[in-house]
């Protein structure tokens, strides 16, 4: 659920990076934190185990001028990928506006990818949401590994649906595909924000700049 403060002229939107353990969710945020202009981001907060596995979540706010005269804050979160932390994933998903599903391209991780995507759908259902209704982007990460799964198989496994999700190939450790993924999910979230509020009231409108 997005939040608009008309007095502060601020819009807040929440994007969650989801996916199996070690697929590269935290790496996405670390790379964004390292590469983006520091004025456009806050600190990256990680609640991690001593082994640097995400225990609770990672969090980083990004600021953009998405709407004229308004400051738009995208709150980026990751979830812990390990199966045992499902309650934590549910907490982090509360109020989500958009999701990036980070899939691991290694052959050996296909079952975990499918299980994690099914888990995402289950957790969304618990808060009365559906995967197809909330903006979601698929990121096929680790495309540089020697045993990378062919893209058509990843598409068959994870994107076999009536309305396919946008997909990006990535090597998050080098930054490849990270900003493309981020910009796509940010756009989708903004479009849905406008669409949802337009249904309610004409006071929110969209203008195409030329």
């Amino acid at each position: 659920m997005s939040f608009v403060n008309f007095k502060k002229k601020e819009v807040q939107l929440k994007i969650v990076y989801y996916g199996p353990g070690m697929s590269g969710k935290t790496t996405n945020l670390q790379v964004i934190h390292r590469m983006i202009n520091p004025t456009a981001r806050g600190d990256l907060t990680s609640v991690a185990t001593s082994g640097e596995r995400t225990l609770f979540f990672d969090f980083m706010p990004l600021v953009a001028q998405a709407f004229e005269g308004y400051e738009t804050r995208f709150q980026l979160y990751t979830v812990p990928g390990q199966v045992i932390y499902n309650l934590t994933r549910r907490l982090v998903l509360r109020g989500v506006d958009g999701m990036v599903f980070v899939a691991d391209s290694q052959w050996s991780k296909m079952a975990e990818n499918a299980e994690s995507l099914a888990n995402l759908a289950d957790n969304l259902a618990l808060q009365r949401e559906r995967l197809g209704d909330i903006p979601c982007v698929l990121q096929y990460n680790k495309r540089d590994v020697p045993d990378a799964t062919p893209l058509h198989y990843l598409e068959y496994l994870l994107n076999n649906r009536d309305v396919q999700l946008p997909t990006f190939n990535a090597v998050a450790t080098t930054g490849e595909g990270v900003f493309e993924t981020l910009n796509m999910i940010a756009r989708l979230v903004l479009h849905r924000f406008l669409a949802v509020n337009k249904h309610k009231e004409d006071g929110v409108r969209e203008l195409v700049l030329v």
């Binding site: 659920m1 997005s2 939040f3 608009v4 403060n5 008309f6 007095k7 502060k8 819009v11 807040q12 929440k14 964004i32 590469m35 983006i36 202009n37 456009a40 806050g42 600190d43 907060t45 609640v47 609770f56 979540f57 969090f59 706010p61 990004l62 953009a64 998405a66 709407f67 004229e68 308004y70 804050r73 709150q75 979160y77 309650l87 934590t88 907490l91 982090v92 509360r94 109020g95 989500v96 930054g175 900003f179 981020l182 910009n183 940010a186 756009r187 924000f193 406008l194 949802v196 509020n197 309610k200 009231e201 004409d202 006071g203 929110v204 409108r205 969209e206 203008l207 195409v208 700049l209």
Partner: protein
């Protein structure tokens, strides 16, 4: 649908939270929802309110699950006491929280005492805001115009 706060509600929240800070002698007060959105903030703390909200909502959510494990519906408050600073978190209603930061000069009892009526006042304000949003009154006159000049985020300075 988005959660919205118009100027009147923001001003009322400002007044309520300022009163809470004065009466309780706390340093900083944050109103956030359980999804981690910052709804309002008052005080002189230099902490990033967005990180405070994300972590505060996470802590409260985790404590609620712990309460359920013990057969409780939820713990009314969460208190973390440090040597210099402490944090008091209480629910305003099902999906909003007050996160209050206070120093060793203030007392947890005083914070708890004044947090309760403040939470009641804030709850009424948020319910009014929700009603207004349902009636689509407060989006009128606030056109949001989307910028479409290139990608929102870029690598590099």
């Amino acid at each position: 649908m988005s959660r919205t706060l118009n100027e009147n509600t923001s001003n009322e929240l400002h007044r309520t939270l300022c009163d809470l800070l004065v009466l309780s002698e706390a340093d900083d007060c944050l109103l956030c929802d359980t999804g981690g959105y910052v709804l309002a903030r008052e005080g002189d703390g230099d902490h990033d309110p967005y990180q405070m909200a994300a972590l505060g909502a996470g802590v409260y959510g985790a404590s609620r699950e712990l309460a359920r494990l013990l057969g409780e519906r939820e713990f009314n408050v969460v208190l973390h006491q440090g040597t210099q600073k402490s944090i008091f978190i209480c629910a305003v209603h099902a999906d909003a929280l007050l996160v209050i930061v206070f120093s060793q000069n203030a007392s947890a009892g005083l914070v708890k005492l004044y947090a309760k009526p403040a939470a009641v006042a804030v709850r009424a304000l948020l319910e009014d805001a929700r009603r207004l949003a349902m009636e689509a009154e407060d989006l009128a006159g606030h056109p949001l115009v989307l910028n479409r000049a290139g990608p929102l985020f870029r690598a590099g300075p």
